[in-house]
């Protein structure tokens, strides 16, 4: 089956005074129509760099993207530009403070010259209504809205061009718990209604578990584990994933290594040789410094990049 979005061998970097940071170091991902791929990892591991390269805010160094099997030119996106839209963490920073709610949602339509003026107005009204912004607020400016309302406007704006794919970069991280639930419910409802595909980035594992069909775990620019949501939740195999899961108090992760992290992410300017996680991995052996582990299939689409995962994959999965 063709995937809605396919990301192949994506490499993306940032030039800094101290050299080039290879923030995305060869990533392959795919998302099916109507499904969510959740992307987790510590801050600085490259999640936003990946998102920005996919949406076209940064030009990748190399790699390919395709939508519904149709390859996309990374530099001149043409018709595909509309198909992928982004929802940001901080709706305040991403919304023009001088435009009203109604103008903010209409702007992308005007830029792309979609629909007649009258049609645009009706469409925008219906869209704002759908995301739960009452008509009385359509003439307000962003600073006159609460954080949750601003995020609803951000979502409406992203949906105005009727995209197929939404990249959501920490969309609820800045919101209070009670408001997070409102926005998460809205996102999953919209997905079902419009058969949208999401790349959903968050550092909050329980949020990712809730919204995702698949989960990918990123470490220093690389995907170290990926699989269906319950596989990753109940049988995490990579030591790093197990360490992350431990912080949520997840006690259903099968019999495998208990990994506690007691150091921080090394500098991405000079990533460790071999397995990038080895400097923090309590299970590292000599091979880990010499050979880069590739993602290996472990059944049900569950893939893990660790030289030693085979040693505990049977006991971990047995419990599930």
């Amino acid at each position: 089956m063709t995937k809605r979005l396919e990301i192949t061998d994506l490499v993306a970097g940032h030039k800094t005074r101290r050299g080039v940071v290879q923030a995305v170091a060869g990533v392959n991902l795919e998302i099916a129509a109507g499904e969510t791929l959740g992307l987790v990892g510590e801050s600085g591991c490259g999640k936003s760099s990946l998102a920005r390269a996919v949406i076209g805010l940064n030009t990748p160094t190399s790699g390919a993207l395709s939508i519904n099997g149709d390859p996309m030119d990374m530099r001149r996106r043409g018709n595909h530009a509309r198909d992928i839209q982004m929802v940001f963490q901080d709706p305040y920073g991403s919304l023009n403070p001088r435009l009203t709610v109604q103008q903010l949602v209409e702007e992308p339509l005007t830029v792309h010259r979609t629909r007649s003026k009258a049609e645009r107005k009706t469409f925008v009204k219906a869209l704002l209504d759908r995301v739960g912004i009452p008509e009385a607020m359509h003439d307000r400016l962003p600073h006159q809205l609460s954080g949750g309302q601003r995020q609803r406007v951000g979502i409406a704006r992203a949906l105005s061009l009727e995209p197929k794919i939404l990249i959501c970069d920490e969309p609820v991280s800045a919101l209070d718990v009670s408001v997070q639930a409102q926005v998460l419910n809205l996102l999953v409802e919209l997905q079902r209604e419009q058969n949208l595909s999401y790349l959903f980035i968050s550092h909050d594992l329980e949020v990712v578990r809730y919204v995702s069909h698949w989960i990918a775990v990123m470490y220093l620019g690389r995907i170290v584990e990926i699989g269906p949501v319950e596989e990753i939740w109940s049988s995490p195999l990579h030591p790093y994933t197990r360490a992350l899961m431990q912080t949520t108090g997840n006690d259903a992760m099968g019999e495998g290594p208990e990994v506690k992290l007691n150091s921080e992410l090394p500098s991405p300017l000079s990533p460790p040789s071999g397995c990038r996680f080895r400097t923090r991995c309590p299970l590292a052996i000599e091979k880990c410094a010499q050979e880069v582990p590739d993602l290996q299939e472990n059944g049900k689409g569950h893939q893990v990049a660790c030289h030693r995962a085979k040693e505990w994959s049977a006991t971990v999965s047995a419990a599930a």
């Binding site: 009670s178 809730y210 150091s263």
Partner: protein, 336 residues
């Protein structure tokens, strides 16, 4: 000694309010008559969403609130047997950093960027202890070891902005320990950190708390952090404490509709597998100026009745309930 320590209140706060001047005439009660206590060797978590009044509560106890625009009222604030509310600013300054110390969310704003870690620690140590410079330097190193900074010696000459977020927070904790405090007020010390680093800092605080037997007021909006570090919890909503009790009791059998709603709003499980929606709490937290009469949670509450609008419910302990709560129509204990 041990017996005496058990249960003795280290900090006891009665009816603390913080009033913010809006204009020459108008004042709003951002914190409205909160009462709580922290025992020796105990951690009390103050939990609530942003704007609940958690930080102002801590700042008022430390007397670090903005005195030009804010006023503090309290029947009593007792720390280690001493009444703080009647002390002069000068007297409070002596207690601040020694008997009680504070840890903030953003260590960068409270660490001095032009001084090395060693200089700052030594200054803090000598401010509160009669020590030679050499002894203070030795103590600085001990403190860095105590907060589990690897290769502590090599860190002494560093500047705070060169440290990672987690290391900075450790230095901040070392600074707070410099005066051998009996009470630590920690205001969202892990909020700005990654989950992996946050877990390390929580472990450290928990270990230090047991090791040193200090009391801790731990402020957070993170329910996970509460579970992992606190003995008791007080849930704040719009300037008031709405429910309090042992963490286990409050989390497993909440009586206040807000507590229950907050716990249920957190994701648990997978929508793609079972299609369950998260429980929403409609609307948003009111600002102190727009706080409704009666129960502040009323407009968002699914159990509210006309009598909820009459007067704010006060915190009470109903027979049979394990927690204290401020609600006219609390959730009842579910029979086992």
């Amino acid at each position: 000694m041990q017996e005496q320590e058990q249960g003795a209140a280290l900090l006891d706060v009665r009816k603390l309010s913080v009033l913010i001047k809006q204009s020459s005439r108008q004042k709003v009660r951002a914190v409205d008559a909160v009462s709580f206590s922290v025992g020796v060797g105990e951690t009390l978590a103050l939990v609530g969403e942003s704007g609940a009044g958690k930080s102002l509560t801590a700042m008022a106890i430390m007397r670090l609130h903005k005195a030009q625009s804010m006023g503090v009222e309290a029947d009593s604030i007792r720390l280690d047997g001493q009444e703080l509310s009647t002390l002069s600013d000068r007297e409070i300054r002596k207690i601040r950093g020694s008997t009680m110390a504070m840890i903030f969310q953003d260590p960068l704003s409270s660490l001095n960027p032009v001084l090395t870690v060693e200089r700052q620690l030594v200054e803090a140590i000598r401010l509160h202890n009669d020590m030679s410079a050499a002894a203070a330097r030795q103590r600085a190193l001990e403190l860095l070891d105590m907060v589990r900074i690897p290769a502590a010696k090599s860190r002494l000459g560093e500047y705070s902005h060169r440290l990672s977020g987690g290391m900075r927070q450790r230095v901040m904790i070392a600074m707070a320990l410099a005066g051998n405090p009996k009470l630590i007020l920690a205001d969202e010390p892990t909020t700005a950190l990654d989950v992996t680093i946050s877990a390390q800092i929580l472990d450290l605080l928990r270990e230090l708390q047991t090791e040193l037997g200090v009391g801790m007021l731990f402020i957070t909006h993170d329910l996970h952090a509460v579970r992992s570090i606190a003995h008791r919890v007080a849930v704040m909503y719009s300037g008031r404490i709405v429910e309090t009790g042992n963490v286990e009791d409050v989390f497993s059998r909440p009586h206040h509709p807000y507590t229950e709603g907050l716990l249920a709003a957190r994701p648990h499980g997978s929508f793609s597998l079972d299609g369950h929606k998260l429980r929403e709490i409609p609307g948003t937290v009111p600002s102190p100026a727009d706080r409704p009469a009666g129960c502040a949670f009323g407009p968002r509450c699914n159990r509210s009745q006309p009598d909820c609008e009459s007067q704010p419910p006060s915190l009470r302990n109903e027979t049979g309930a394990r927690t204290s709560f401020a609600c006219y129509h609390p959730l009842k204990e579910v029979p086992a």
